[in-house]
């Protein structure tokens, strides 16, 4: 009788908690959406500022474009560092820090008088801020939206589709207030990311009492120590140890720091990840009631070595290489055609209005196809990376056929097909990574993967430009993108064997 009574209220509580957790998941998606809109918007409207800077501050185009390059490449290259910060401080403080960096960078840039100053204030500060925001938002989305990650990710990414509104808005602001006033107002707009970052409630640990009560009925003391997974008596501890040894994750149980609730952040991934993987029947892991309890000092019953500051384990993992290879090439395949689409339209004799029409169509198609792809992937009819590979192959085929499009209708058809397949595979990048490595190590994997993708993103546009200069035609850019898109899924064919290798290694 006694075990039953506590179970009913706890089940009721977890249901209420699940509802709260569901609500907060939409908050996280909204924040990620906002991050996409503002980050991508700023990156895209940099061209407008470029013109304003060139007129007032002077300097050559090359020097000025450094600012833009630093800003967009740091977004990726800063990811490993940000991953460390996230794991130490938790996602919410990191996100608020990122928002502060971005707003501060904008405000500082209003006082800019020279290009090196702008490189630091606009390039470095904004780039690092974007990296912080992006990493925190992406991982938080992965942690919160377990069941429908692909759709939530696609929904958040659709923010990029709204960025076309930022360009005329920025133009208007510059006409009214000049670039300094515009940057001031931008700083204010970026500050809006602070309250939306606050929506990133730290994920709470799974109440250990639940597995304990399922198995062990005599642990009434467990209620006082929600943080100790094994705090209940011996019944649950062997199970916890079993779980721990089954996985080679070196992540720590908890960091014995007398902080407040945010400490549950780094501890949570491990507590969450393991029970989640081992008990598929568990429903809601992030129950807010448990989150509130972490104000009690954490008992240091199990002091494990805390996670190394910079976790290089992804670099030893073949799955990581599989993912990064695909990520790198798919990013190259994504950026290059968009860069040269308008130019190609122009060389074929179409007006620049037609070109911008193409870009608009591409943007809308991409957003729609992202949503569709995310929704489709969430049904889990097949492994997500199979869909990812299919989209990549189709995208590659489209790009290889791209040079055949010489009239406006054909080019439009190419654009629609290309945008649709790009949207398809882009939406699945994060879910595929989560499928491959799980959520608790997502920070370090995402950090390093973004780092390598960043080097590709840096080299992509100049490479495409060089290709054009060398061959004097844009056809090669499309062939190159097609080749990249076809090379990128090759690594996924090795995924089953890599998993087998990992399991063998774990069982040794």
């Amino acid at each position: 009788e006694e075990p039953e009574a506590p179970e009913a209220p706890s089940a009721g509580k977890s249901r209420g908690g699940a509802a709260a957790a569901g609500g907060w998941a939409w908050g996280v998606v909204f924040h990620f959406f906002l991050v996409n809109v503002l980050v991508m918007g700023t990156l895209k409207t940099f061209g407008i500022f470029f013109v304003a800077f060139r007129e007032e501050i002077g300097g050559s185009s090359e020097q000025l474009s450094w600012i833009g390059s630093i800003m967009s490449s740091l977004r990726f290259l800063g990811a490993p560092l940000v991953a460390v910060v996230c794991q130490r401080l938790g996602e919410r403080p990191t996100s608020i820090l990122g928002a502060g960096l971005v707003a501060g960078g904008c405000l500082l840039s209003t006082q800019a008088t020279s290009i090196p100053f702008l490189c630091f204030s606009m390039g470095f500060l904004l780039g690092m801020g974007f990296a912080c925001l992006y990493q925190a938002a992406a991982v938080m989305t992965a942690k919160r939206c377990r069941a429908r990650l692909a759709f939530c990710n696609a929904l958040a990414r659709s923010g990029m589709g709204l960025t076309f509104l930022m360009a005329p808005f920025t133009q208007l602001l510059i006409e009214f207030y000049g670039w300094q006033g515009t940057l001031l107002i931008f700083g204010g707009i970026m500050l809006n990311l602070v309250p939306s970052s606050m929506l990133l409630w730290p994920a709470s640990p799974r109440p250990p009492r639940e597995p304990a009560e399922n198995q062990d009925q005599g642990c009434s003391t467990a209620k006082k120590d929600p943080e100790t997974p094994g705090g209940c008596s011996a019944g649950s501890t062997p199970r916890e140890f079993q779980l721990r040894s089954a996985q080679e994750a070196p992540s720590t149980e908890r960091l014995a720091m007398p902080h407040g609730r945010d400490v549950s952040g780094p501890a949570n991934p491990s507590a969450l990840g393991r029970p989640q993987k081992a008990t598929p029947e568990s429903s809601s892991s992030e129950t807010s009631p448990e989150a509130k309890r972490s104000h009690k000092p954490l008992p240091a019953t199990k002091k494990e070595p805390s996670q190394p500051l910079l976790d290089f384990s992804p670099l030893k993992d073949p799955v990581f290489f599989i993912f990064t290879w695909s990520f790198l090439f798919s990013h190259l395949a994504y950026f290059v055609p968009f860069f040269h689409l308008v130019a190609r339209a122009r060389t074929l004799g179409m007006s620049s209005r037609d070109g911008s029409y193409l870009i608009a169509v591409a943007g809308i198609t991409e957003v729609l196809s992202q949503l569709l792809s995310g929704w489709l992937a969430d049904h889990n009819w097949t492994k997500k990376y199979h869909l990812h590979v299919t989209y990549l192959l189709l995208c590659g085929a489209t790009n290889l056929l791209g040079p055949l499009a010489t009239t406006f209708p054909l080019l439009l058809a190419y654009t629609v097909a290309f945008a649709a397949f790009c949207g398809g595979f882009m939406a699945l990048v994060l879910p595929v990574l989560v499928d491959l490595v799980g959520v608790e190590k997502l920070h370090s994997y995402l950090g390093f993967a973004a780092f390598f993708a960043g080097t590709a993103a840096m080299g992509g546009p100049p490479l495409a430009g060089w290709l054009y200069d060398y061959t004097q035609t844009y056809v090669c850019s499309f062939l190159f993108a097609g080749a990249c898109a076809l090379i990128s899924p090759i690594s996924f064919f090795f995924e089953p064997s890599a998993q087998k290798w990992k399991l063998k290694k774990a069982n040794l």
């Binding site: 506590p6 209220p9 207030y177 000049g178 006033g181 602070v194 606050m198 209620k223 807010s288 009631p289």
Partner: protein, 233 residues
């Protein structure tokens, strides 16, 4: 068609010089052996040289009155013509109004294709153009010569009184060309108002979310305490 021209062409002439204008007929044109006349307005000019498909006229421009539009007219089955506009070099500069803030510095840059003899800057006073005299306003204006064909006016310590239209004039031997710039001076408060409004909105949102967190945390704690009591019974 007539090659070498887009049926209109601008030729910049700054100093007295000899100019050669040529009209050339495409090989695949329908016109065969047309009648060619060179005209300036209603006046006909005799052409100086002729080959099978091209007709050239040589002009000596020695003063401003000789500038203008010269056209070659080819008459045959169809009539084609091309016009050359001989003008003093135009000035390149910023089209949009220049927006600056009080106390800041405004920069206006004028650039020409060929170097003029002299550069002058003016300010509109009502309907008149008043030349900017450096000696009388040493702390206000600075004129810098970046190169022979690029000239730059800097206006320091801007105030609302400096709002208006400024002109730069490039004087060539054959004439002069002018360009205007509109200067707008805003007070620092202008963009600050929307900024403060946005910051206020952010602060309100942050406080609301923080308060909600504290409130729901307290509610959970109370619920927990009740729950624990039930268990202990």
């Amino acid at each position: 068609g007539v090659s070498g021209t887009a049926l209109q062409k601008n030729v910049s002439v700054g100093n007295p010089t000899k100019v050669e204008l040529t009209c050339k007929l495409d090989d695949n044109s329908k016109l065969k052996n047309p009648q060619v006349t060179w005209k300036r307005g209603n006046e006909t000019i005799s052409h100086s040289s002729k080959t099978q498909n091209s007709w050239t006229v040589q002009l000596t421009i020695s003063d401003g009155s000789q500038l203008g539009s010269y056209s070659c007219i080819l008459k045959g089955e169809v009539e084609v013509s091309a016009t050359f506009h001989l003008q003093v070099p135009k000035i390149d500069g910023k089209e949009r109004p220049i927006i600056t803030y009080e106390g800041d510095l405004a920069v206006m840059v004028c650039k020409t294709e060929y170097a003029p003899m002299a550069w002058t800057w003016y300010r509109t006073n009502g309907t008149e153009l008043v030349a900017i005299n450096l000696s009388s306003h040493t702390n206000k204006f600075r004129i810098k010569r970046q190169s022979a064909n690029v000239n730059r006016l800097e206006i320091l310590k801007l105030t609302k009184k400096d709002i208006g239209v400024y002109w730069c004039e490039a004087a060539f031997r054959l004439g002069s060309s002018k360009r205007s710039f509109e200067l707008r001076v805003l007070s620092i408060l202008a963009p600050l108002k929307p900024f403060i409004a946005i910051v206020a909105e952010v602060v309100i949102l942050v406080t609301t979310i923080a308060l909600y967190e504290v409130y729901s945390k307290r509610k959970e704690e109370e619920g927990e305490r009740e729950f624990d009591q039930i268990e202990q019974l």
